[in-house]
C-alpha cells in the first residue's frame, strides 16, 4: 500500500517535470526537467521492484542514476564549451552558445 502511494506520487511528479520540459521557457529549464525526470525514473524503477515483491532491480536503478548524472554533465559541457574534450576544471571563458530564451 505504502509503495503504491509512493509510486502514484512519483508518477504525478514525473508529469509535473514533463510539463516543465514542454513549457520551458529557457533551455536550462528543459535540462533541469530532463535531469529530474531521470531521477524520478530511477525511483520509479526501485519502487516497481518493491511493488512486485522482487527488489532485484535496485542495482539497475543505481546504474541509471549514474548514467543520468553523466549525461547531464555531458549536456552542460556541450552548452559551455561546444565540445566534450575539455577538462571540467577549465574556467569557462566562452559565452554560452545557446540563446537563453527560445520562442518555440
Amino acid at each position: 500500500m505504502m509503495f503504491g502511494v509512493a509510486t502514484a506520487a512519483i508518477l504525478v511528479g514525473m508529469m509535473l517535470a514533463l510539463v516543465r520540459a514542454f513549457a520551458g521557457p529557457t533551455l536550462y529549464d528543459r535540462v533541469l526537467a530532463a535531469s529530474s525526470f531521470g531521477t524520478k525514473t530511477v525511483i520509479l524503477i526501485g519502487l516497481m521492484g518493491y511493488l512486485n515483491g522482487r527488489p532485484d532491480f535496485l542495482d539497475i536503478a543505481v546504474l541509471y542514476a549514474l548514467l543520468n548524472f553523466a549525461s547531464t554533465i555531458a549536456i552542460l559541457k556541450f552548452f559551455r564549451h561546444r565540445t566534450l574534450s575539455v577538462s571540467l576544471d577549465r574556467p569557462g571563458t566562452d559565452a554560452p552558445i545557446f540563446e537563453e530564451r527560445d520562442t518555440a
Partner: protein, 198 residues
C-alpha cells in the same frame, strides 16, 4: 490483493504510455531542435521504465544507456554543426498522407485482434522453443536469467558474430570520421598546394 496489484501495474503502464504519447506529440510539433533532443532523452527514459515494468530489464538497460545517454550527446553534437531551428514546412495538409496513415493505422489495430491475450501460456511465442528454453535452461546452464542463458550460451556464436559486426562498424566509423572529430567537429583545413603538411 492480487487483483489490486495487477490493476496497479496496469495503471503504472497506462501512466507511462500516456506520457510517452504526449512526449511524442510535443516532439513532432516542436520546431526547436534543442527541445527535441532533450525530449528524446526523456522519451527513452520513459520507455526504459516501461520496459522494466514489462520485466525486460536487459532491453531497458540498453535503452537507457544508448537512448538517454549516448544518443542525446551525439544528437547535441550533430545539432552544433547545423542550425538550431527546423525550417518551417508547408502548412497545407495533404489528404493522401492522412488517408494512408489512417488506413495503415486501422489495419494495425485490426491485426491486434488476432494477437494472443497478454501472458497467454499457449501462445506461439511461449510454447515451442521458448518453452524448451525455460524447461532446460535451469538444468543445463546454471544462470538464473533465461534471457542471459539463451543469449550467451544457446546462441553464443550468434552473439559473438553480432559483437564482431558491431565492433567492425565502430572501427569503420572511427576510421572514416577520424578520432580528431571529437573536438566539436571543428573544420580541418587542408594545406595549400606545394606546402608539405607538418
Amino acid at each position: 490483493m492480487d487483483a489490486l496489484l495487477a490493476n496497479g501495474e496496469i495503471l503504472i503502464d497506462l501512466a507511462l504510455l500516456t506520457m510517452l504519447v504526449s512526449v511524442a506529440f510535443v516532439m513532432v510539433r516542436s520546431r526547436h531542435l534543442f527541445v527535441i533532443v532533450m525530449l528524446s532523452g526523456i522519451y527513452s527514459l520513459l520507455s526504459a521504465a516501461f520496459f522494466v515494468s514489462l520485466d525486460a530489464v536487459d532491453v531497458a538497460f540498453t535503452e537507457a544507456a544508448v537512448g538517454a545517454g549516448v544518443s542525446t550527446v551525439l544528437m547535441l553534437g550533430a545539432m552544433l554543426l547545423t542550425v538550431r531551428r527546423e525550417k518551417p514546412t508547408r502548412t497545407g495538409r495533404t489528404p493522401v498522407a492522412i488517408l494512408v496513415v489512417t488506413l495503415v493505422g486501422s489495419a494495425l489495430i485490426y491485426a491486434t485482434f488476432d494477437m494472443p491475450p497478454y501472458g497467454d501460456g499457449a501462445s506461439p511465442a511461449n510454447s515451442y522453443m521458448g518453452e524448451v528454453y525455460i524447461d532446460r535452461a535451469a538444468k543445463e546452464i546454471a544462470v538464473p536469467n533465461v534471457v542471459t542463458a539463451v543469449l550467451a550460451s544457446y546462441r553464443g556464436f550468434d552473439t559473438l558474430g553480432e559483437t564482431m559486426v558491431i565492433f567492425t562498424a565502430g572501427l569503420g566509423v572511427i576510421l572514416l570520421l577520424g578520432a580528431g572529430s571529437v573536438r566539436g567537429g571543428k573544420a580541418v583545413k587542408d594545406k595549400p598546394d606545394g606546402e608539405t603538411p607538418s
